[in-house]
Symmetry: C2
Subunit: 123 residues, 2 copies
């Protein structure tokens, strides 16, 4: 599978899982994985999932606007940047977000090494 197909498949899986049951996202992270979620920095699958589960909303929906990928090393690493809209609970107005994933191959699959998430505000 080429890096564009991998990035697209991973991203769709990730947001579908996030939006339906984010308690199951831990399989995608390892002990060395890092998450920056807004101003919070975390390391390790357990801490990352605790943070994601603790986010104060019940219903959430990610809509992808742009998805771009590049090979990030000669070892099969893939870098993905997504911009999109986030719909939370009963709010009418989506919030724009930007997110980057650095994916590392492991056997026939990939895990998330780097994950940076930011809502987009004007300066």
């Amino acid at each position: 599978m080429d890096f564009n197909a991998l990035a697209q498949q991973f991203t769709e899986f990730y947001y579908n899982q996030f939006d339906s049951d984010r308690t199951q996202l831990g399989n995608l992270y390892r002990d060395e994985s890092m998450l920056t979620f807004e101003t919070t920095q975390l390391q390790g699958a357990k801490n990352i999932v605790e943070k994601l589960v603790s986010l104060p909303f019940q219903k959430v929906s990610h809509r992808i606007t742009t998805l771009d990928a590049q090979p990030a090393s000669s070892n099969g690493d893939v870098l993905v940047m997504i911009t999109g809209d986030l719909l939370i609970d009963e709010e009418q107005n989506p919030q724009r977000f930007s997110q980057v994933f650095h994916l590392i191959p492991e056997g026939s699959s990939y895990y998330v090494f780097n994950d940076i998430f930011r809502l987009n505000y004007s300066a």
Copy 2:
């Protein structure tokens, strides 16, 4: 220098150079470097600088809103995600952008291996 300081220093240098004289950005890229600029994908310092120089504006100013960095490997690689506002020529309304850089150490400095740039639109 820690990865946060490196990321901040690199990003300020990059946007200052971009906004004052983007013909000089080639020193930051190598033959294996990749740029995704909106829907255009390019590889190599020469192609990347040609693209950046050809962008159809005279005056440009990047304003950083958020800057987040993480170590991207055990070799000193750094991943940086920036969101911000872009002011072009005489336009009054800034455009929001998102950009990610994957920086790789080389001697006492760093070069750009991955560079993905997107303006942020609503879906």
